[in-house]
Symmetry: C2
Subunit: 248 residues, 2 copies
Amino acid sequence: MSSPFHPDYNPLIRKLESVFILTDDERQVLETLPMQVAVLKDRQDIVRGGDRPSRSCLILSGFACVYKMTAHGKRQIVSFAIAGDIPDLQSLHLKTLDTSIATISPCRVGFIPHEALRDLCLRYPPIGAAFWRETLIDAAIFREWVMNVGQREGVSRMAHVLCELVVRLKAVDLVEDHVCDLPITQIEFADALGFSPVHVNRVLQQMRAEGLIETQGTRLRIPDWDKLKEVGEFDPTYLHLVREDVAA
Amino acid sequence: MSSPFHPDYNPLIRKLESVFILTDDERQVLETLPMQVAVLKDRQDIVRGGDRPSRSCLILSGFACVYKMTAHGKRQIVSFAIAGDIPDLQSLHLKTLDTSIATISPCRVGFIPHEALRDLCLRYPPIGAAFWRETLIDAAIFREWVMNVGQREGVSRMAHVLCELVVRLKAVDLVEDHVCDLPITQIEFADALGFSPVHVNRVLQQMRAEGLIETQGTRLRIPDWDKLKEVGEFDPTYLHLVREDVAA
DNA sequence: CGGCCGGTTGACAGAACTCAAGTGATGTGG
DNA sequence: CCACATCACTTGAGTTCTGTCAACCGGCCG
């Protein structure tokens, strides 16, 4: 159990402040949340669909993903989780998890008891509203993913996901000079986009050829942000950021 | 403005009670919500993406859909709204709408001021939790749609959406003897599933040939519920119903 | 009656999948 | 230290699902 005023709370507060305006008081209260920190290796399940957890997990560092499996064993990644995200915050009000969550890269994860979260929401309604808002933005992202997977093809579909990732990473200061670390494999992109891994590979090659992205290892560089946004038809409205400059 | 204790509140309460346990007191309080009722023709926008509404809309009867448009004018329906649904409840905490909502059939719609909803949530935290839960279930449905559009093909994808619709209709007593009224055109299914209208037509024909569905006009009959569920890989967990018999 | 809309059908095209093989980097064990 | 396995990525060839285009039917409504 880490003590209050620990830097572990920074990702949470930075993320919340990208979509909600907190008072000094509220910031301070958030740091009183009890949290058990764990260090996880890559490709490990954090929670599994069907679980009935009594706590939610806050990603402190690293990349994770929320996914579901079809009856025939195909995996759909429904969202990527980065620092500051609480990908199973919904379990606060939905007893049974309908998704699994797994790390992609090595992660530091903080577990926060539901009881503490519920208590905080009741005693500080604005904080309750902030968490509700978080889950509503998650829903908006899922809606956008439905559209992305349903209507866009090839390069456009991939470009859209990359745009979203970059903006969300920027909101928590993980992008510098149009460069970020993105330890997501082509297989994982395939599961997120509804493509085959082979197709992802070809799409990425085409994007590199067209100067939309540059990669070396896990580092991604966006040479021309406006062009990528246009190809991906990316309009960040659905992310409901309070600092709109993040998406510019 | 309709008066309290009016039958207009029945769809809302019936829907809430399918996913949340209400006390008599809470039921009564819900009926004090001010609501302006409107009658709309089919294929009319109720609200549009980009709007900043000061009220949410409750579907009292009829079918509506939540949709988004791509930059190239393609439409993705991200969910169908039926009696009891509040498809833009999220606008309570997200100022700008990122989706549009339109009627499919003629609808009766109740508009509830955000102020009244916010007030109720503050004064009755369990009701606040119930509404939060509603939005979380919406998010769970979006996640399932991402998987459906991303991983399932043809008959399976269509079967899944039909299963979901039937269960949700059953939850508000709109299914009798495996028969329901479904005034959704093939074009609308196409926009919901990410198919072309022609493909929807062929998929439906195949499903009729395989005895999965029977249709006459807008009436849909499910001759073999278990078979349809199996083909659509439908597991109703994600709907988080409190009365689980509804999905049986 | 004519127009319109939703549904249906056929022929063809194209996006994406599968299978299969091969590369290169990393890591492990003898 | 090298052989070997593993994993992510790459490439090619053939297949399949789904889209596009186009035409046509039948019911409904003005």
